[in-house]
Point group: C2
Chain length 319, copies 2
Amino acid sequence: MSDSESASLPFRHVAVIGLGLLGSSVARAARACLPGIVITGYDADPAVRDRARAIGLADTIANAAGEAVRGADLVVLCVPVGAMGTAARELAADLSLAAIVSDVGSSKASVAAALGAALPGHRIIPAHPVAGTEQSGPDAGFATLFRNRWCIVTPPADVDAADLARLVAFWEAFGARVETMDAEHHDLVLAVTSHLPHLIAYTIVGTASDLERVTQSEVIKYSAGGFRDFTRIAASDPTMWRDVFLNNRDAVLDMLGRFNRDLAELEAAIRAGDGEQLFDHFTRTRAIRRSIIEMGQDDARPDFGRADHSRAGKETVSG
Amino acid sequence: MSDSESASLPFRHVAVIGLGLLGSSVARAARACLPGIVITGYDADPAVRDRARAIGLADTIANAAGEAVRGADLVVLCVPVGAMGTAARELAADLSLAAIVSDVGSSKASVAAALGAALPGHRIIPAHPVAGTEQSGPDAGFATLFRNRWCIVTPPADVDAADLARLVAFWEAFGARVETMDAEHHDLVLAVTSHLPHLIAYTIVGTASDLERVTQSEVIKYSAGGFRDFTRIAASDPTMWRDVFLNNRDAVLDMLGRFNRDLAELEAAIRAGDGEQLFDHFTRTRAIRRSIIEMGQDDARPDFGRADHSRAGKETVSG
């Protein structure tokens, strides 16, 4: 590594703790986007460490969290939000006071509290890249996961401005767009854009699995009517999502209450045969998808561009 | 057209009534998969007829429904389920008694009743291809929409076996897999695999649009956390979906009742901090997605193979 390369890096050495979908994506993105950075990794599961070594995820995969963070100037905790405190305590003794400690957890107030308690006096700046897939484990990650996605950083009030700038530069190097806000607001926003959608998807997939008069085979066969969309989200990692609901309980219950009231209103309209109310509601919800596509936050192709909807057939019309 | 080609066609002349996403896809698939078949089309909206002519959707786009069905041996009604009766009455006088009348509606008991009342003595075989996208209109259709999708046919008890075989052959020519069942069972199955998912998606997108403490701009920016998946379904045609809920009310309310009970259970688990119950539920729902992918009913790639999740980044790991 030349001096000029190293000078432009926001960090010299990143330690990634937890090597699932997110952790392995952080490691891959660092390798791809920050040439010259030293990458060490650790996972509590020996099988995941073995796999991470086999696929060359990092320069070194350590057998202990402390070993992984020794000499690191950035530590990114990529474990379920309920495991943050334990993971932090495990590496505390080996962590430099100069190192920045961050994470990728989906709830932020509880993570800030857990890290603050485990690592007093350390430079903690929680973060949440709003990106992912329904897959899990070290093989599921990829370097472009964060490209064109938002990363929300929730710095404490007394954050060092230079520390914050370095963490922002780290995420921007991966192609992410960074926004800062306080942890409580993050938790409210994500309750509606992520946590409630997951709760509802998990629920309906469970409902469909438990019917007597409709078989599971029928549910699967005719899932292209809409149901299959929900099964993707409901295939997400159970441990991660259990922890999200336990750690962002109040905001999730608040959003769920609003959803329940809105659903009861539509139910009443169906029961009453009130076509006008249904039509008005369904028209209103159309616009928001256009905005999401215009903001580059979803694939503009019909049906997310799924493979089985090849547009090849269109040519036959004029041909 | 040679005699041998024409002999292998299940129908000589198909009339497509309603030229939106489904109707235009039927016309395109007929053009692509049944070479030699005569295709006529009609839509109640003059602007849609003009557009259909401009893109050459059919051999003839008629200015009246009766004109479109004259001489046809198959008529496929591709209008919202609430408009089936009116559309059928409009063409009744010009319809041959030898013609088979079918449709593509998402609810079947109400359509069978409406067509039966409008076309007494005619050969009515309702059908429902379980396929679609969130887009609407004559430009949204494509010839491969039905490929590898299921088409459910709900024949009356006294159906002529040869008629049924011809309709099955028509859909199979498009690459669809055909299943027959009674209309009531169809309506129950689709209530869970299609109608309830749409109702829930419409609800949550409405809920997210109406918040005070979270702005619409935040909902859009952070939609990749899961919410954006729901916006696709909630962008579906409002008229079509209003009619579905009004015409399959009992089955939808039945499934909605079950969903509400299951959601209340998960809500109670979150409130009580019962991580074990959440984990068990989230583990159970994972398996069904694997089955859907194994059955070829969804894209196996992570995140439906969305374009912004290019897997190109993977190569950087070993490189």
